[in-house]
């Protein structure tokens, strides 16, 4: 039996192997994914994000137990950071998920970010497809301990749970942009600590404000999505459109890869006003308090996105973003294969000595690759 058939039949070793092959970009991994693709799109993908130490892993453990009590099969992808210095990683999320061991209805995989900055690994979207095709009903994706802007999970999950630990930050933290904006459900964890009610109140106030103000129609949409929707026509005459200069760079970046997140467009996408107000649930993950409420709200959110058509929109946004990411990687690889090392080194040397600025260097590299 081939790897793909084995995954479809629920073989755990095959799932594990295929995820490794995807992570390593092994030959044939893309072909295997292509075969699995038609079998995906069924699972509810739940993102769990929040600051380091907020209690994400413990919460995932408790949620998984709740889903299992409901006879649903659960896949977990737990992402931890790769060291930028050694390239190694210590992946410790399983420590908090020991209750799930020995249950054949649960599959847990730890993933290292391997250089990705958005809170997930580059291979996470593909690993989700493997578990989806293998028939897991719920796939929980736990991000790295996030700061304020690791919001890639919004482009990957149907429902995003943001875990806030009690007593972290003040009211101003709650009105900043970023992580808090992507929440579909808030879990205020460690709610047995003093200050839990204050944290809940601060989040509710944030939600009052965001419902009072009309949402911006398009924040920073994917460029592909703009084209698809006809908002932006690519100029057919310019085969290689000139790079924008620095003045206009803020509008369209010549290097979209520099932005951790080119398109966070969920409910706010297309200017559609979401009628979903993210519920704020107090939890004590250690001990399981509030978990059933949290699971209920996650399920409610799923019904909401399905009933309103938001699910279709989110899936479209996810896939367009994924396509854009693959294209970007592919174009970069193609470019690098056409540039010789000597000219790259000499350009870099000129940039380092301030003879050439990075934009001019990029112009030269792109011109040379045509």
């Amino acid at each position: 039996m081939g790897l793909v058939e084995a995954v479809l039949s629920g073989d755990r070793r095959a799932m594990a192997r295929l995820i490794t092959r995807i992570e390593n970009d092994a030959a044939g991994a893309h072909a295997d994914l292509a075969q699995l693709y038609a079998h995906t799109g069924r699972a509810h993908i739940v993102g769990v994000t929040g600051a380091p130490g907020a209690g994400k892993s413990t919460l995932v453990n408790e949620l998984a137990k709740a889903y299992r009590a409901d006879s649903r099969r659960v896949g977990v992808l737990a992402v931890d950071p790769t060291s930028p210095f050694s390239g190694g990683a210590v992946l410790g999320d399983r420590i908090r998920m020991r209750d799930l061991s020995g249950d054949s209805g649960v599959f847990i995989r730890s993933m290292a970010t391997r250089g990705s900055l958005g809170g997930l690994a580059r291979a996470t979207a593909s690993a989700i497809k493997v578990l989806d095709a293998a028939g897991f009903d719920v796939i929980m994706v736990e991000t790295v301990g996030a700061g304020q802007s690791e919001v890639e999970i919004a482009q990957t999950a149907h429902t995003v749970v943001v875990v806030e630990a009690t007593g972290m930050g003040d009211d101003v933290q709650a009105i900043k942009a970023g992580l808090l904006e992507i929440a579909d459900v808030f879990a205020v964890n460690k709610a047995d600590r003093p200050g839990a009610d204050h944290t809940v109140a601060a989040l509710e106030m944030l939600l009052d404000l965001s419902h009072a103000v009309p949402s911006p129609a398009e924040e920073r949409p994917s460029r592909l999505l703009e084209i698809i929707r006809g908002h932006h026509k690519p100029s057919p005459s310019a085969k290689h459109p000139p790079l924008p200069d620095e003045a206009s760079a803020e509008r369209i970046s010549p290097f979209p890869g520099r932005e951790a997140c080119p398109a966070v467009v969920g409910a706010r996408d297309q200017g559609v006003r979401s009628t979903w107000r993210p519920p704020v649930i107090k939890t004590i993950a250690e001990g399981g308090d509030g978990i059933l409420d949290l699971a209920r709200d996650i399920a409610d959110h799923r019904r909401y996105v399905e009933d309103t058509g938001e699910m279709v929109r989110r899936n479209q946004v996810h896939l367009v973003n994924e396509l854009e990411r693959i294209l970007r990687d592919g174009l970069m690889d193609r470019l690098l294969s056409q540039i010789d090392q000597a000219s790259l080194a000499s350009l870099m040397a000129q940039v380092a000595t301030r003879e050439l600025d990075p934009y001019a260097a990029a112009h030269q590299l792109l011109a040379g690759s045509q």
């Binding site: 755990r12 070793r13 390593n24 599959f107 730890s110 693959i326 690889d333």
Partner: protein
């Protein structure tokens, strides 16, 4: 498109686990950290793992190496059982190494049972890194 990328190397994945009942994992954490610094991806599972838990985690994580630390004296019972379960999962190509308090006279029988290397107290972490790098299929 781009099935091969020469610049992305395969990472060595290692499961570091503490089977049995001892409640002390300083040594396991030092080893985990050293392996990380050598560029490996280390899945650390924490204390008090059963052989079944360890074998299942090794399978799901698709590791190349299983590193086991036992201080309790139960190594002759636990380690062969873990090797057996790994083999039962069709993971006979996994490198199994052990550390902790293991008397010299137990090393040969453990090796007989399928443990590839035993590293006692005082072993330098470099030695463990080198052993793994030399033995893992690449």
């Amino acid at each position: 498109m781009n099935e091969r990328r020469p610049d992305r190397r395969q990472k060595i994945r290692v499961l570091v686990a503490k089977p049995g009942l001892d409640g002390h994992d300083r040594g396991a954490k030092v080893v985990a950290r050293a392996l990380r610094d050598a560029g490996m991806e280390v899945i650390y599972t924490g204390l008090r793992q059963t052989p079944e838990m360890i074998a299942e985690a090794a399978l799901q994580e698709d590791v190349d190496v299983v590193g086991l630390s036992v201080l309790s004296g139960a190594h002759m019972a636990l380690l062969p059982r873990i090797v057996e379960l790994l083999h039962g999962n069709d993971m006979d190509d996994v490198l199994v190494i052990a550390g902790g308090i293991i008397p010299d006279e137990d090393i040969a029988p453990l090796e007989q049972a399928g443990v590839h290397g035993v590293f006692g107290p005082g072993t330098s972490t470099d030695e463990i890194v080198k052993f793994i790098q030399d033995h893992v299929r690449n």
